[in-house]
């Protein structure tokens, strides 16, 4: 059962990050507009983020799928998802009208903050479960493939 949950989470969360990265790689100019709507960083930093972050999401998401670099991906994606939550909350508090930029132009939500934040927290919870499986070894084997199976 635990193995099934672990694989399902890896598949879904890996897919979420691969998709989120891919749509932004296709249209970095749109992602730049989304980053700027948060009004937090200077333009040059926003451009660098628009070019860099989608690739990070795509590679880390792919690592969740394939298992290679799996632990490294979790170490990156957990704080990144926390950061996304903080940024969304910050925009909410400031009353900004943002398209969160989470999933590129296909993300049609019009600043539905509870939904944006809830989605972020769901992803965070999923990553937390995967990290707990991996580091406490309660899961159905080390997904990183660097050690022995610990399945009972």
């Amino acid at each position: 059962m635990i193995i099934a949950i672990q694989w399902a989470l890896r598949f879904v969360l890996g897919g979420v990050f691969v998709y989120a990265g891919a749509v932004k790689i296709v249209d970095p100019a749109q992602f730049l507009v989304d980053i700027e709507s948060y009004r937090l960083v200077p333009y040059t930093v926003a451009v660098a983020t628009a070019l860099y972050l989608p690739w990070l999401e795509l590679l880390a998401g792919a690592a969740l799928w394939v298992g290679r670099g799996y632990r490294g991906a979790l170490v990156i994606l957990l704080p990144l998802t926390v950061l996304f939550g903080i940024l969304i909350t910050s925009a909410w508090i400031r009353g900004l009208d943002i398209s969160c930029g989470c999933f590129g132009v296909t993300d049609a939500s019009e600043t539905n903050y509870p939904w944006l934040l809830g989605r972020d927290l769901l992803i965070l919870a999923g990553l937390g479960v995967l990290a707990a499986f991996e580091w406490t070894r309660r899961g159905g084997g080390r997904a990183s493939g660097t050690g022995r199976s610990v399945a009972p």
Binding site: S37, Y43, L51, L56, G72, V75, V150
Partner: protein, 155 residues
């Protein structure tokens, strides 16, 4: 480490591979981002003042020295609060109704400049794209920096 773990492992032993993975995952996107910046046809410009394709600023509009048709792509509330003199409201919330007003004022060859709130909005690009499709005319531009740019330049 869970109590009673059957595969005990010194805490430091697992650190190096994880750190290596993290470093690779953080560094690889640097090169891919650089490649995107160089090769992607829609890569954003590094300079804030650079105009993307189809964008103009006030200096360009002034240099045309002709009466352009200003189109305000913001919400009706924003439009009624203040807008570029002579601008007409045209947004995607009430596209079909507002489009009639546009065709009352526009004629082929008349340049159109669409704006929304600021550089961080997208509505002006979407409205401009739809207008190009509706009119079949390419002389439809987006004001870089939007209403904020106009206000700073004119008021």
């Amino acid at each position: 480490m869970v109590k009673g773990d059957r595969n005990p492992e010194p805490p430091a032993a697992g650190m190096t591979p994880v750190l290596r993975q993290v470093l690779i995952l953080l560094l690889l996107p640097v090169f891919l981002a650089a490649a995107t910046a160089l090769l992607h046809p829609a890569a954003p410009p590094w300079s804030e003042d650079s105009l993307a394709e189809g964008e103009v600023n006030l200096a360009v509009v002034d240099a045309w020295d002709e009466e352009v048709l200003w189109v305000d792509a913001r919400s009706r509330d924003d439009y009624e609060e203040a807008h570029v003199p002579g601008a007409l409201l045209l947004n995607e919330d009430a596209w079909d109704d507002l489009l009639f007003d546009f065709f009352d004022r526009w004629h082929p060859g008349r340049k159109v400049v669409v704006y929304c709130g600021s550089r961080g909005c997208r509505a002006s690009h979407q409205v401009a794209e739809r207008l190009r499709e509706e009119t079949g005319d390419d002389e439809i531009y987006v004001l870089h920096g939007g209403w904020r740019h106009w206000r700073e330049g004119r008021l």
